[in-house]
C-alpha cells in the first residue's frame, strides 16, 4: 500500500562487502538517526520510518494508518498541497511512502545536491503537517480508488494479505483489513488525524536514515538544523499484539467473482524474530526449499510431478519479504490450481513434503544453493541506494539493528539442515489457517455489495 503506485523495478538488495560503517546518533528530541555513507554513488536517499502501522489503528477506523500516510503528502507548515511532490521531483528525485503492519515509511532518492532539501521536506511534515478537511476528503477518494484498483476490480485482490489474517488471528490488530472498510474510511475525520499524529508521529517514535553520497559531519549538522527543533513529545507505549498459536485448523472459503481458477492459502505462525532470529530465518529457507526455483520440493511435485497446481509460493511475511514485521508474523503457502483439483489434494501434498523435511531435512547442497540465491538477491537490494536505505531503516526500527540488513546473507548461509527440519516440524505441530478462494459462479456480481464486503 503506497501513496503512489510503485513503478516496476527488478526485485533486488545488501552485502557485507565493502559496506561503510553505519553511524548512529540520537537527537535530544529522541529522533534516532542512521547515516550510511557510500562514496561510489552520485545519489542520496532519505527515509523516515515511523513506529506505527495498520496493526495500531483504532477499531472503527480500519485503513486509517494508510490513509494518514497519504495525508502526510498533502502539505505542511512551509509547504502547500502538492509542494512536496514538486520539490522532490523538481530536484530530480523520486519518492514514495508505504504502510506496513508495524511501521510507515516515507522516502525519497535524489541527486546528492538535493540532500538538504530532502531533509527539510521530511522535517517540515514531521514537525507540522497541514491536516485539512478538504485534503482528507480528497485522499479518502484516492484511497478508495487504490482499493478498487488493487482489490475490488481484479482477480485475487487482497489475496492473501487481506483475506488470510482474519482466519489465522482473533484480535482486531492482527485480523482486520489494513486497507480499510469503505464505510470506516468515509467516517474518518480530521480529529482522528490530529489524534493519530500526536500519538504516533513524535520524533522519538521515528528513525531517520540517510544513505549514499554524504559527508558524515556535514549531514549531521544538516539533520540537527532541520530536525533539531521539533519538540520532543511522549512516545506511545508499544502494545503487544501477541496471540496464542492456534492448536487446531481454522478454515474459510471466500468467493472471488473475477478469479478464473481456485486458489488457496495456508497461514502459520512464525517464531518471534527478535527472540529467535535463526528460527525465523530457518523458516525463510524452508519457504525457498518448498517453492523457489525449478528444483524446489513443491514446484517439482505439484507443478511438474502431479501437475495439479499452476503456481505455488511459500515464505515469511504476508507481503512476500521476510523480516518486515514484529511478532506475530505469518508464514504463508499460496497456490493457484485448476478447478478440477481439490484443495485437499494440494494441502495433503504440502503436509507430506513438510513431514518429509521434518524427518530428514533438506540436503546440505540444496540448502547451500538456496543460501547463495538469497545472498545474490540481497546484494542486489544493497546495490540500489533506495532499497538499501529502506532495508536499513526498517530493521533499525523493528529490531533495533540495521546491521541485520547487512548480515543477512551470512546469517542465512549459517542455517543448518537440522534447523530447517525443525522449522518444518514446527509448522506441522501447530494449528493453521486454510483459506480457499472460489471463482465466481457466473452470477453477475453486485459491485456495491462487493465493496461493502471488503
Amino acid at each position: 500500500m503506497s501513496v503512489i503506485p510503485a513503478r516496476a523495478s527488478s526485485a533486488t538488495a545488501p552485502s557485507t562487502t565493502d559496506l561503510p560503517a553505519l553511524h548512529r546518533l540520537t537527537l535530544p528530541n529522541g529522533l534516532r538517526v542512521l547515516l550510511a555513507p557510500d562514496p561510489s554513488t552520485p545519489v542520496v536517499a532519505v527515509s523516515v520510518h515511523v513506529d506505527v502501522g495498520f496493526r495500531s489503528e483504532p477499531e472503527g477506523r480500519t485503513g486509517f494508518a494508510h490513509l494518514f500516510e497519504h495525508l502526510m503528502f498533502q502539505g505542511s507548515e512551509s509547504l502547500e498541497k502538492l509542494a512536496h511532490f514538486r520539490h522532490v521531483q523538481g530536484s530530480g528525485g523520486v519518492f514514495n511512502g508505504s504502510t506496513h503492519p508495524d511501521y510507515t515509511d516515507y522516502f525519497e532518492v535524489l541527486p546528492s545536491a538535493a540532500l538538504e532539501r530532502a531533509l527539510f521536506l521530511e522535517a517540515d511534515r514531521l514537525r507540522a503537517p497541514m491536516l485539512t478537511e478538504e485534503n482528507l476528503r480528497n485522499q479518502v477518494d484516492v484511497v478508495k480508488e487504490e482499493i478498487r484498483l488493487n482489490v475490488l476490480s481484479r482477480p485475487y485482490g487482497g489475496f492473501p494479505w487481506i483475506l488470510l489474517p482474519p482466519v489465522l488471528y482473533d484480535t482486531f490488530p492482527n485480523a482486520h483489513n489494513g486497507y480499510g472498510d469503505f464505510s470506516e474510511l468515509e467516517q474518518a475525520g480530521l480529529d482522528d488525524a490530529a489524534a493519530f499524529f500526536d500519538a504516533y508521529y513524535a520524533p522519538g517514535n521515528a528513525v531517520l536514515t540517510v544513505a549514499g553520497d554524504l559527508d558524515i559531519e556535514a549531514t549531521t549538522r544538516l539533520v540537527e538544523k532541520h530536525f533539531g527543533d521539533i519538540p520532543a513529545r511522549a512516545t506511545p507505549a508499544r502494545p503487544s499484539f501477541a496471540e496464542p498459536i492456534p492448536t487446531v485448523e481454522r478454515s474459510r472459503t471466500v468467493p472471488d467473482a473475477h478469479a478464473p481458477m481456485p486458489a488457496l492459502a495456508l497461514g502459520y505462525r512464525l517464531p518471534d524474530p527478535s527472540r529467535d532470529l535463526d528460527g525465523y530465518l530457518a523458516h525463510t529457507l524452508l519457504g525457498s526449499v518448498l517453492t523457489d526455483g525449478e528444483a524446489a520440493r513443491l514446484q517439482q511435485r505439484l507443478v511438474y510431478g502431479d501437475g495439479i497446481v499452476t503456481d505455488v509460493s511459500a515464505g515469511c511475511g504476508l507481503f512476500g519479504s521476510p523480516l518486515d514485521a514484529r511478532d506475530p508474523d505469518t508464514f504463508t503457502v499460496t497456490a493457484v490450481h485448476p478447478a478440477g483439483v481439490e484443495a485437499a489434494q494440494v494441502i495433503r501434498a504440502v503436509d507430506e513434503e513438510l513431514d518429509r523435511l521434518a524427518g530428514v531435512g533438506p540436503d546440505g547442497a540444496e540448502l547451500s544453493r538456496i543460501a547463495a540465491r538469497w545472498a545474490s538477491s540481497l546484494y542486489h537490494e544493497h546495490d540500489r541506494v533506495m532499497s538499501r536505505t529502506l532495508a536499513l531503516g526498517s530493521r533499525e526500527l523493528l529490531y533495533g539493528r540495521a546491521e541485520l540488513a547487512v548480515e543477512l546473507p551470512r546469517r542465512l548461509a549459517e542455517i543448518t539442515p537440522a534447523q530447517v527440519a525443525r522449522a518444518a516440524a514446527t509448522l506441522r505441530d501447530q494449528g493453521r489457517a486454510v483459506l480457499v478462494v472460489e471463482p465466481g459462479t457466473g452470477e453477475d456480481p453486485n459491485p456495491d455489495a462487493n465493496e461493502e464486503q471488503q
Binding site: 507548515e77 512551509s78 521531483q89 545536491a113 503537517p129 478498487r148 500526536d198 511438474y304 538477491s377 456480481p445
Partner: protein, 459 residues
Amino acid sequence: MTATAIRTHRDAAQIGRTETGPRPLPPLGSARAAAELELVERTLPSGLRVIAVARRTVPTVELRLRIPFAGEEDTRAARAEMLASTLLSGTARRDRVAIDDELAAIGGELGAGVDPERLLISGSGLAAGLPTLLDVLADLLVAAGYPDAEFGRERERLVERIAVARSQPRTVAREALQRRRYGNHPVTRELPDASDVTAVTSGDVRQLHATAVLPAGSTLVLVGDVDPERAITLVGEALGGWSPPGTASELPPLPALTGRDLLLVHRPGAVQSQLRLSAGAVGRTDPRYPALQLANLVLGGYFSSRLVENLREDKGYTYSAYSLMEFSPSGAALLVETDVTTDVTAAAVLETRYELARLSAVPPTAAELDSARNYAIGSLLISLDSQPGLASMLSALAGVGLNEAWLRGHPARLAAVTPEQVADAAAEFFTPTAFTGVVVGDADVVGSRLRALGGIELP
C-alpha cells in the same frame, strides 16, 4: 466522550503551526555527475553484439540478451510464448532441475520473456560464477531440447496463466487498445490465444528456435563486478558455438497513428473504467525528442504533472494517471492511461481531453519546465545507479539502435531545450484530435454519459 472530557491531543490547526512559522526551501547544492562508464563493446564473429560494463558496487553480475523476435503469422505469439516458457526445460547436457541447480549454486537465475518485438533472456548471479552463467546460457542457445516430457505440462500452465491474465482489467484494456491502434499488425499479439497454445508442439518450438534464436542482430549486455575485457573474452569462449546463419527478425514498422473516436469496450459489472489514449510521437534520435520528453512529463510523465494534479489531487477520480512514451524500432507513441471509478468515467475522459488541449494551447510555464528538466536528468541518474537498471537501459537502447553515447549526451540535450521548443512539441503532439484509444467499462452504466460527451464509439 462527554463534553467535559479533556482532549489529550492538539487539534489539526495547532499541529500545522509553529512559532517560527513557514521556513524557506533550502537551495540545491552542487551537482555531482555520474562516474564515466568503464565499458567495452565488441561484435563477435557470429554477429552478436556484446557490451560489458564494470559496476563493482556489489559482487554480482547482471545479464540481458536481447534477440529481435518478430514474426508475421497469427499463431506466432503462441509458439513464441511456448519457446520462452520451455527454453529452460532441458538440453542435451542438463535437464530442467540440473539447469536450475547449477544456476542456484552461483546464486544465479536465468529467465526468458517474449513480446511481439523481442525475446529477452535476463539473468544474474554472483560475479565469480559468470563462467557458469555463460555456460548454461550457451547450452540453452545451442542445445535447448524442449523435451516432450516437460512440454505438455508447460503448455497446460501457459493456458492457465493466460486465463488469469485475461481476467485482469489492465490486460483487457491493453488488448483493446492494441487492436484499436494497430489493427492486425503483429505488434498487437502480446498474449496468445489459448486455442493456439494448445496446438503448439515441441517440434514447432524447436523449429522456431532454429530459425529465430539468432546471434546476428542480437545484443548481450553484462553489467557488474567484472573486468569488461575479460567478460567479453569469456562470452566469446562460451558463446562461440552459437553461430547459426541469418539475422534476428526486427518488428516491421508500425502503422502511423491517426486520431479517432475512443472505442467503448463493455466489461459487465466493472467497478472501474480503464481509459487508454494514444497518439503518434517521435523516437530518441529525433531532434524534437528532448522537448517532447519534457512536454510529456508536464502532462503526465511524473507525479508533479497536470494530469495527476487534476484527476487525482483535485478531483479524487483515480489512484494514478500518467502519460508515457512507448518505443519501437520504427518510432514511438504517446500513451495516456488512468483507471477511474465507474461513476466518473465520462468526467475523467473530459478532464483528460481538457489537459491534452490545454497542453497544446497553454505552453508549460517556466517553473513546470524547470521541474520537468531536473526530473528528467535526475531520475535518469538514479535509474542507472544499479546493475539491473543500467543493464536494462543499455539493452533497451540497443533495441532501438542506440548505445551509451546517447545516454552520456542526453543530460546536455535536456539542458539545452528552450521553452519555445517545448511549446512547439506540445502543440505538435498533444492535440486531442490526434489521439485514438479505448474506454473499458460497464457500458450499461457509463454509456449514456459518454455518448453525450461525444467522440466515443459505443459498442
